[in-house]
Amino acid sequence: MASSPDHNHTLNGDSNTHASKKPKLSFITPSEIAAEFSHHDPTVARINNGSFGSCPDSVLQAQRRWQLKYLSQPDHFYFNHLQAGILHSRTLIRDLINADHVDEVSIVDNATTAAAIVLQQAAWGFSESKFEQGDAVVMLHYAYGAVKKSIEAYVTRAGGHVIEVPLPFPLNSNDEIVTEFKKALEKGKANGRRVRLAVIDHITSMPCVVIPVKELVKICREEGVDQVFVDAAHSIGCTEVDMKDIGADYYTSNLHKWLFCPPSIAFLYCRKSPKGVELHHPVVSHEYGNGLAIESAWIGTRDYSPQLVVPAVLDFVNRFEGGIEGIKKRNHETVVEMGQMLAKAWGTHLGCPPEMCASMVMIGLPACLGISSEKDTLKLRTHLREKFAVEVPIYFRPPKNGEVESLTGYCRISHQVYNKVDDYYKFRDAINQLVSDGFTCALLSN
C-alpha cells in the first residue's frame, strides 16, 4: 500500500494544459482500447452509451489516485489540493467549449443539477416579483423527463406558464423544428406575457435528434426571450460545443456520457453579462455568495474525484487520431452506417436524416413486434437484455390520427470507441429472431 500520497503525473506539470490535438506517431491500438474497457461486461452488446456513458481504465486509475490522496490526509487535501484541481478542470473545460472566461464555467454533478440551478433562479424570479404570474417558460415536447419535472417543481409551482413545443417524429429537416418553435414563442407572448426562459435540448434524449440550437437561440433573441438555457446533456464529446457560436445564456453538458469521465461530472456555463443574474447552488455551504463556480466547488464533504480527472481524460482522448474531434467524427460515421445496416435488415427506416444525428441514431423496429405503449418498450428492452444480452433503449412513438402503417417502436443505438460491428449484428439477429418467432410485446407478461 502506498504509505504516502502517490505522486501523480497528471497533477502537476501536466503535458496537456490545453485541449489542442497533438498528433502522435503511435495512436492507441484496438487491443489497447479493448484493455481500457475490459471492465465492461463482455457478454453484452453495449449499444447504449448515450444513457450512462463509459470510462476507460486509465481514467479510473487517475480517479483512484485522487481518492487515495483524499483518504490519506483529507485535511491537507482540502486545504492544498482540491481547489487547484477543480480550477484546472474548469480551465480545460473552458478551452474545450470556447468560453471566454473560466468564471463562466462551474462544475456540477450532472445536467439534472444544472437544470435545478437555472430553474431555481427562475422560481426566485417569480417569488421576488421580478417575473409576473403567468410569464412563460418554453420547452420542447421532447425535453428530458427529469427536466420537465424540474420545470414543474420550480416554474409551474411558482406561478409560471409552461409552453411545450410539439415536434414531429420522424423528422425530415431542421425547418420542422424551427417552425414549431416560432409558433410556441408566439403563444408565449400572447396576452402581453413575457417569455422569461427558453429551455432547449441540444440533443434530445428520446427520441434522439440534434436540434439546431444556434438558430433557435437567434430566434429567441429576435423574439425578446429573456434567457436561453441549452440542456446539452449529451453534447460534449458527441457534437459541436462552442459557447460563443451557440450564444446561449446557460449551457450544460455531462462529461460522463461522451467524454469518458467517471460518474459524475458536468459543467454549467453561464455567460457573463451586464444583466448578471446571480445563480446559486441549491446545496448552500461556506462559499455562498462567492459566485456559482466557487459555491459548486465545495458543497460539503463528498467525493470530488470525478471532477478532478479531466486532465487524465484529455490525455486519453489525445491518444486517438484526431483527438476528441476524430472520435466524434468516427462515432458519427459508424453509427449512421450501423443504423442504415439495421434499417435495411429489418425493412424499416431511420428516425431522422443522418445530418440530424451525432453518435446516436433512431431506427424503426419492425411493426409486427407490436409495440403499443411505453410499457411495451420497457418490457421489450428488458427482454432484449435478459434473453439476447443486448442493451438498447426503445422509444414508443404513438400513431397520429389518420396515419396508416406508421412504425410505433424505435430503438436508439449509440456508437462509442469500444463498440464493435458484432454488437450491432447481435442486435440485428435478435430482432430478426423475434420477428421470425412471431413475437409480439403482448406476449410478455407484466
Binding site: 500500500m1 504509505s3 504516502s4 502517490d6 475490459s38 471492465h39 465492461h40 461486461d41 453484452v44 453495449r46 444513457s51 450512462f52 456513458g53 470510462c55 486509475q61 483512484r64 489516485r65 481518492q67 487515495l68 483524499y70 483518504l71 490519506s72 490526509q73 483529507p74 485535511d75 491537507h76 482540502y78 454533478d109 450532472n110 445536467a111 439534472t112 437544470a115 435545478a116 430553474l119 431555481q120 417569488s127 427529469a146 419535472k149 424540474s150 414543474e152 417543481a153 409551482r157 455531462n254 460518474p263 459524475s264 446559486h280 441549491p282 446545496v283 448552500v284 455551504s285 455562498y288 455568495g289 458543497i299 460539503g300 464533504t301 463528498r302 467525493d303 470525478p306 428488458t382 437484455r385
Partner: protein, 490 residues
C-alpha cells in the same frame, strides 16, 4: 500510570484471550491498490442476499478485531501525521473501501442492468439499516442524501416555499444557536432570510459549564419572541456543535421547543451517528440529519435525513429534481441523475465492520469517549490549561485550551497555527479562536479540538503535546512567528 492500565486493558486483554485459539481472521482486501484492468474482474463476496439485514450487536467471543488488523484497515492513512481530527472528514477502513469499489465496478460493468435491477434494492437496504441504527419507526422516514449540508438545504427550501405560498408570514422566525455551523447559517440566509423570515440567534457561552446554562438561554430567547408575538416556525439545533465542540442536551431542548410553541425542530446531528446516542424516539425531533462518513466509517459521502411521519408531514423535495419527483423525499433522493451512488450502498457493510469490535458501535463510542477525555486531560495537564467543557458534554471530541503565550488572537491566527502544526510537526488538529470576554484579563483565546477514533494511538496525542511544548519553549507567538501569510519568519 492509570492511563497506561486503561490502554493495556483495551488493547491487550482482548488479544490475550485470543492468542491460544485458532482464529478466523478476516483479512481486509486492500484491493484499492492501483492495478491493471484485468484485476477489476475480481469480485469480492458482494452478496445481494447478505445476512446482515439487521444488527443487534453480536459480540463475537472468539474473534474481535485485533490491533494489527485495525492498523491494516487504516494503513492508507498518512503514517507521518498525527491524525487527531476525525471530526472534520471522518475515515473509512480498507474493508469498506473495497466494498465501495465493488459497487462501483458493478455499475461500470453494466450500468443499465445496475440501475434497473440493483440500485434501488441496495439503497432500500441502506435505509433499513439506518432505520434500525437510529430507532426510527418506519423506513419511509429515512432518506439518504450526500451530507448534512444537503439535508439542511432540503428542509430550508421547503420553508422558502412556505413563505412564498403564504403558509408562513414575513417575519416568522427560525431559532438557532450562535455556535451553529457556518454553512448552516449561510443556508438559512439563502433560503429563510431571503424569503422574508427572521433569525433568532441564541448566545452561546464557551467554555461551557453545564447543560443548564444552554437550556436556560434557549428558553429565555423563545419566551422573549413569544411575548413579542413572533411565530417560531423552526428550531435548528446542533446535536454536537462543530467549533467549539460540545454535546448539546437535544432531548431537553426539543422539549423546551414543544413547551414554547415552536412549530418544528430540526436537529443537525452532522457528527451524530457513531459519536453520540442517536435515538429518534428518545430525541423526539421532527427532522434529524447525520453524516455517516464522519463517525460511522462510511466513505465520502453519505448521510441521512430523518423526517418524522407522525407530525403533519410537510412536503419535502430534493432540490435536484428528477424522474421521481413527487414520490416522496426518500424515493426522490435515490435517483437525482447519473452519479456514483456507491457510498450510499455500503452502509450494511459498515455494520459488518463495526460488529468486529467488542460491543459493536456502542463499544466503539464508549471507548472513543473514554480515550478522548483521557487524552484531553493529559494535554491540559501537560500545558497547564483546561478543558472547554465537562467530560459529560463531550462525545468523541474534546476542546483543550492552548497555552495563552501562543498569542492566538484571531480566526486567522487559528488557521495559521493549524497550518504550522501540519507542516512543521505533522499534527492535524483544528484550532478554535475564542474571543475573550471583556472581564477576562489573561487571553484565553485558543482551543484545540481533538478527536479519538479507533485508529488513533496515544503517540498521536504525545506528538501534539510535544509540538505545543516545543512552540512554547521556543517563545513562539502567532503574530511574530508566523508572518502575514502564515509562513514561519526566518
Amino acid at each position: 500510570m492509570a492511563c497506561r492500565i486503561i490502554m493495556f486493558y483495551r488493547y491487550y486483554v482482548a488479544h490475550l484471550r485470543l492468542c491460544h485459539q485458532n482464529i478466523q481472521i478476516l483479512k481486509p482486501k486492500l484491493s484499492f491498490r492501483i492495478s491493471r484492468a484485468s484485476s477489476y474482474h475480481y469480485y469480492h463476496n458482494l452478496n445481494p442476499t447478505d445476512t446482515q439485514t439487521n444488527f443487534p450487536i453480536k459480540p463475537k467471543l472468539s474473534s474481535f478485531i485485533t490491533d494489527s488488523e485495525i492498523e491494516a484497515e487504516f494503513s492508507h492513512h498518512d503514517p507521518g501525521v498525527a491524525r487527531i481530527n476525525n471530526g472534520s472528514f471522518g475515515c473509512s477502513p480498507a474493508f469498506v473501501i473495497s466494498e465501495l469499489q465493488q459497487w462501483q465496478l458493478k455499475w461500470l460493468r453494466q450500468p443499465d442492468h445496475f440501475l434497473f435491477n440493483e440500485l434501488h434494492k441496495g439503497i432500500l437496504k441502506s435505509r433499513n439499516t439506518v432505520k434500525e441504527l437510529i430507532n426510527a419507526e418506519d423506513v419511509d422516514e429515512i432518506s439518504i442524501v450526500d451530507n448534512a449540508t444537503t439535508a439542511v438545504a432540503i428542509v430550508l427550501q421547503q420553508m422558502q416555499w412556505a413563505f412564498f405560498e403564504g403558509k408562513f408570514k414575513k417575519g416568522d422566525a427560525v431559532i438557532i444557536l450562535q455556535c451553529a455551523y457556518g454553512a448552516v447559517k449561510n443556508s438559512i440566509k439563502a433560503y429563510f432570510l431571503r424569503a422574508g423570515g427572521y433569525v433568532i440567534e441564541v448566545p452561546f457561552q464557551f467554555p461551557v459549564n453545564s447543560s443548564e446554562e444552554i437550556i436556560s438561554e434557549f428558553r429565555m430567547a423563545l419566551v422573549k419572541e413569544k411575548a413579542s408575538g413572533r411565530r417560531v416556525r423552526l428550531a435548528m439545533i446542533d446535536h454536537v456543535t462543530s467549533m467549539p465542540s460540545v454535546v448539546l442536551p437535544v432531548k431537553k431542548l426539543v422539549k423546551v421547543c414543544r413547551e414554547e410553541g415552536v412549530d418544528q425542530v430540526f436537529i443537525d446531528g452532522a457528527h451524530g451517528v457513531g459519536c453520540v446516542d442517536v435515538d429518534m424516539q428518545e430525541i423526539g425531533a421532527d427532522f434529524y440529519t447525520s453524516n455517516l462518513h464522519k463517525w460511522f466509517f462510511c466513505p465520502a459521502s453519505v448521510a441521512f435525513l430523518y423526517c418524522r411521519k407522525s407530525v403533519t408531514h410537510l412536503e419535502l423535495h430534493h432540490p435536484m429534481v428528477s424522474h421521481d419527483y413527487g414520490k416522496g423525499l426518500a424515493i426522490e433522493s435515490s435517483w437525482i441523475g447519473t452519479r456514483d451512488y456507491s457510498p450510499s450502498l455500503v452502509v450494511p457493510s459498515v455494520v459488518e465492520f463495526t460488529n468486529r469490535f467488542e460491543g459493536g458501535i456502542e463499544g466503539i463510542k464508549r471507548r472513543n469517549h473514554d480515550a478522548v477525555v483521557e487524552m484531553g486531560k493529559m494535554l491540559a495537564k501537560a500545558w497547564g490549561t483546561n478543558l472547554g467543557s465537562p467530560p459529560d458534554m463531550c462525545a468523541s471530541m474534546i476542546m483543550v485550551r492552548l497555552p495563552a503565550c501562543l498569542g492566538i488572537s484571531s480566526n486567522d491566527d487559528a488557521l495559521k497555527l493549524r497550518t504550522h502544526l501540519r507542516e512543521q510537526f505533522g499534527v492535524e488538529v483544528p484550532i478554535y479562536y475564542q474571543m475573550p470576554k471583556h472581564e477576562e484579563v489573561a487571553t484565553t483565546t485558543g482551543y484545540a479540538r481533538i478527536s479519538y477514533q479507533v485508529y488513533n494511538k496515544i503517540d498521536d496525542y504525545y506528538k501534539f503535546r510535544d509540538a505545543i511544548n516545543q512552540l512554547v519553549c521556543d517563545g513562539f507567538t502567532c503574530a511574530q512567528s508566523l508572518g502575514k501569510y502564515g509562513l514561519p519568519s526566518s
